[in-house]
């Protein structure tokens, strides 16, 4: 056993993944909650129209658009940023897994994980219509 350089065991990986998920979901829920309060104070008295589908405005469909909208303190932009954080949480876990498998020198799984990561990133920034 090599004591000076403890390998990143599968069990240790599990623990770090668990921490990533907890922080990600917690942070996302907090941002969504804050945005939700702002949204309700501003728009609480209006009437929702979800019966007909119109789709979100262009701004709320892309990453830079959402962040810009949130920074100009639009409540819907803040909620959407929280939703982005939530979507980013499993992606962060995959990013960590790439690093972890690389530390384990497990080339097969580095490749497998990179494939999963590229699918996720393509879909998020792909600009699908």
């Amino acid at each position: 056993m090599d004591r000076e350089k403890p390998a990143l065991t599968d069990e240790r990986m599990d623990q770090i993944i668990s921490a990533i998920l907890r922080v990600g979901v917690g942070l996302a829920a907090l941002v969504i909650f804050v945005g939700g309060i702002c949204y309700l104070t501003k728009h609480g008295g209006q009437f929702p129209q979800y019966h007909t589908f119109r789709g979100q405005p262009e701004q709320l469909r892309t990453l830079p658009g959402i962040v810009g909208f949130a920074l100009s303190s639009h409540s819907r932009g803040i909620i959407e940023t929280g939703l982005l954080l939530l979507i980013a949480t499993p992606i962060a876990r995959v990013v960590f897994s790439v690093a972890a498998f690389a530390l384990q020198r497990d080339r097969t799984y580095v490749t497998i994980t990179l494939i999963v990561l590229s699918v996720l990133l393509c879909n998020l920034v792909g600009g699908y219509r």
Partner: protein, 278 residues
């Protein structure tokens, strides 16, 4: 109904869905879409977007507990995520070209199927089959803490499991659900993983699968902040509460009740779609 009242009711409904979903192990995601479309007349595309978001939240929230217990098999999960994410991409792309009525019918059928598998219950499969060369090459075999100590298991039929996972991903992307039941089926029945490992690994994979299609839904403008906010927060609180309660009691009665609810929702979903009300 003004927005604040709408938000509050959706939050409560989602909380209840998340609670029942985690108590029964059926997942809260399957009832969110029927709840929003049948209960509140929300367009099914908005409903699917909101459901997908809540699925990511519950899966990541529940995985926190599971991962620490050391049940899930991260290699199996990562390998099969190639299939689920590609399937989910296909499902999300397909969703734009399929009529909302057809999506509603497929949704209803999936609800009926999930009740069937839930009533059937987990299989008691022997996990001591001979090692499979492909699974060994991919280092999928692992062990898990059983009641009588650590037990080793061999993973079988990788290609079949991979194919089933592709279908699970497709349904997840098309309908905005976690497809947990089908994922468990693929691992437990096809790949012969121990049931406990199948359920936790499935939960672990659901978040990544849903994130794959959520990106596309976001770009399409299906993710509405005003609707996702109460849904996500409600389901999250509900499922975390459920996970905590579950440590104390297993409730077969609740499972039957929730199964009956899902059955009714499935029938209503199909009926409404056929009669042109969705």
């Amino acid at each position: 109904m003004p927005i604040w009242e709408f938000t509050l009711i959706i939050w409560l409904g989602s909380l209840f869905a998340g609670l029942l979903g985690s108590l029964t192990g059926l997942g809260g995601g399957v009832v969110i879409v029927p709840l929003l479309t049948l209960g509140f007349g929300v367009d099914i595309r908005y409903a699917i977007g909101a459901s997908l978001i809540s699925v990511i939240a519950t899966s990541s929230g529940a995985a926190v507990a599971y991962v620490r217990e050391g049940f899930s098999n991260i290699r199996v999960g990562m390998l099969l995520e190639i299939a689920t994410t590609l399937g989910a991409t296909g499902g999300a792309l397909l969703a734009a070209h399929v009529a909302p009525q057809s999506i509603a019918i497929i949704f209803g059928l999936v609800l009926l199927a999930s009740v069937y598998f839930s009533v059937k219950g987990p299989s008691q499969n022997g996990t001591n089959g001979p090692p499979d060369p492909l699974a060994q090459r991919l280092r999928l075999d692992s062990r898990y803490p059983a009641r009588d100590g650590i037990r080793e298991y061999h993973v079988r039929r990788v290609p079949l499991g991979f194919g089933l996972m592709g279908i699970a991903g497709l349904l997840s992307g098309l309908l905005g659900i976690g497809s947990g039941a089908l994922k468990v089926l693929a691992m437990d029945q096809a790949m012969r993983l121990p049931f406990k490992v199948s359920t936790t690994t499935s939960n672990f994979m659901i978040g990544v699968t849903a994130a794959a299609s959520a990106g596309i839904y976001l770009n399409r403008g299906y993710i509405d902040p005003g609707l996702c906010m109460p849904t996500m927060l409600g389901v999250l609180v509900g499922s975390l509460t459920g996970a905590r309660l579950m440590a104390r009691a297993r409730t077969p009665v609740l499972r039957w009740v929730f199964g009956a609810v899902i059955l009714a929702l499935g029938v209503e979903m199909i009926f409404n779609a056929l009669s042109g009300r969705i």
